[in-house]
Symmetry: C2
Subunit: 357 residues, 2 copies
């Protein structure tokens, strides 16, 4: 028989080995992830064989693998045990079975990206990456010009209803989404006063000095509640919450009457089995506070316009991306450890893996 003309490829790929209770486990018999080598199926029409260049490291992935939310109430498909761990990626097309792509094109994918060296993507659901002005790194499509920037913008403007003249507070202000939210609130939405909340004095200094926040409060300080009060003397119109927990609890005492809390995340609880403890819930009633959970996917019709606005603001210097991206060189074997740095409290800005082979 003639040999098949189809070349087969194998790749290393992380699969979800078990659902963690609490923090994911990186090694040993209870390891959350397991590295395996798999053979990729032959390309079908419309598919792309791609080599992964970058992983987008996002705290939200923690909920993809295990959360209190039933899968049918989760906002995207979750990762079943035994399946490849999903991730936003930037990849380079090696072989294309789609007329829209050729070898060498760079694509971004949040749907079918996995922690793998090689992936098969669908041309129809991948996004071809256009060059950015001023030679900005294409990796910003994973952060400032991707999910982080869109979450920051849509959460502030549409969920939070931020208006010119508002006082806005943003938690995880030194993170990928928070660092964009600080700058968007100031430069694109006309907030009068923007206050960050972050987990170290160093981060707070960056949020104030580099991102331009009017103040930034360290939530690990023993005087956090007093500091927060002092930083918001006229109370708060919109609180953009990435963290939940005791920071949210404190913010319930600072949001003004009829103010809004836009809830983007609750990272303080992602690796914990403990329930979230709120002492100040009655403020919700006494101050008629509005709390809105949101997902930026609900605003995708507005995404092109927002991205144009964000790219313009970076190009003309209003929004600064300097030091807002942390790039880690890593082999595929190290990817779970890289991702877990998000939960160490040490990361600044968008954490991106530069995959080395």
């Amino acid at each position: 028989m003639a040999p098949s003309t189809t070349t087969t490829y194998t790749t290393k790929q992380w699969i979800l080995a078990s659902k963690p209770t609490g923090a994911p486990v990186l090694s040993g018999p209870d390891a959350t992830f397991k590295l395996q080598t798999v053979t990729l199926p032959p390309l079908k029409d419309g598919q792309l064989l791609c080599k992964v260049r970058h992983f987008s490291n996002d705290t939200g992935l923690r909920n993809f693998i295990q959360s209190t939310v039933a899968p049918e109430r989760f906002y995207v498909p979750t990762v079943p045990v035994g399946s490849p761990m999903r991730s936003g990626i930037i990849a380079e097309v090696l072989e294309s079975a789609s007329p829209s792509y050729k070898a060498g094109d760079l694509v971004m994918d949040f749907h079918l990206g996995t922690w793998s060296e090689l992936v098969v993507l669908e041309a129809a659901t991948s996004q071809k990456l256009a060059p950015l002005p001023k030679n900005l790194s294409l990796t910003h499509y994973l952060g400032a010009f991707g999910a982080s920037g869109l979450a920051a913008y849509t959460g502030l403007k549409f969920a939070g209803g931020a208006k010119p003249g508002d006082t806005v507070v943003i938690s995880a202000a030194a993170g990928a989404t928070g660092s964009m939210a600080i700058q968007i609130a100031i430069h694109l939405l006309g907030a009068k006063r923007v206050v960050g909340i972050a987990g170290s004095d160093e981060k707070c200094a960056w949020v104030q000095d580099q991102l331009g926040a009017h103040a930034c409060v360290n939530y690990k300080s023993p005087t956090f509640v007093e500091d927060l009060k002092a930083a918001t003397p006229e109370e708060v119109d919109v609180y953009f919450d990435n963290v939940g927990g005791h920071v949210l609890d404190a913010m319930l005492t600072r949001v003004k009457k009829h103010g809004t809390i836009a809830v983007c995340g609750a990272v303080s609880g992602y690796n914990s089995d403990e329930p979230m403890a709120l002492r100040n819930w009655f403020e919700l009633i006494s101050m008629r506070i509005n709390i809105k959970g949101f997902i930026m996917l609900d605003y995708m019709d507005k995404a092109p316009g927002i991205l144009q606005e964000l790219i313009g603001a970076v190009a003309d210097g209003r929004i600064k991306l300097q030091d807002a991206e942390t790039m880690v060189e890593a082999r595929i074997e190290e990817q779970p450890e890289v991702w877990m740095r998000l939960f160490s409290g040490k990361n600044q800005g968008k954490l991106i893996t530069n995959l080395i082979v």
Copy 2:
């Protein structure tokens, strides 16, 4: 010298003796309230000397005497230690220094009412009670046609945005506000399915059989979470929350995408020093839930129209007030104990004190 022509009156009056931590204490050295006898000041122009007939017993009063909310962020003035305990009242005018009132008139007052036998009210801020159709008791002005009915209506319609065809869930469904909310949702707002949550099988039977709820779930049952799920097979558009705590936590898993939680109260925490524990907070994000704290005082411009609608619905039999009011005969000495029955889990409907002298 000629004797003064002004008659002076004395009255027994409960004052707040100390702020409770946890449940109010009824007796002993740590008693929350203290009964004293005071001499009332002479009437000024525009004032009314009144004899109290009824106290409105409301769980919300618990927060007037002590809560986590700073007084400047509370929705009405709180009660300082040493001041008379406030309460909604119905009273009979004994002496009037206002042309708008004469002796024998019945007035309602939520601003200056106190736990006293005699009170001095301001004519300008008191409400003269008009007769009700079909000889309905005037005490309904304290409940169904007062704060409870208005909170139920405005919370469902304006904070909750309940629409015809919605599935609505109401906690503390056998309470003063909840029992009105159940009936308002069904008969005035056109809900397709209305589910109560209450604290005993007896209450649940009343909520279903007498108030007309399509189902009612006992939150003290070990199968509460499963029962709640079974009672809401198509999930929930609007949850009207009176209780907070583990009932709210369970409801976070039942509200549908973009659904609303209108928060009227959080009675599960009023007598507790423990923070509210939520395990399902991430549902707020994954299902884009909207949580709105509200106070019916914000809708007072709509109150006359709503009251007319409520009175009409009772007059034509759509809303039933039978067994929806619990009247307790009590002397002034017993009033703190009567009020505390609200927290025993045994009260049904509006709890009213008929003050006997």
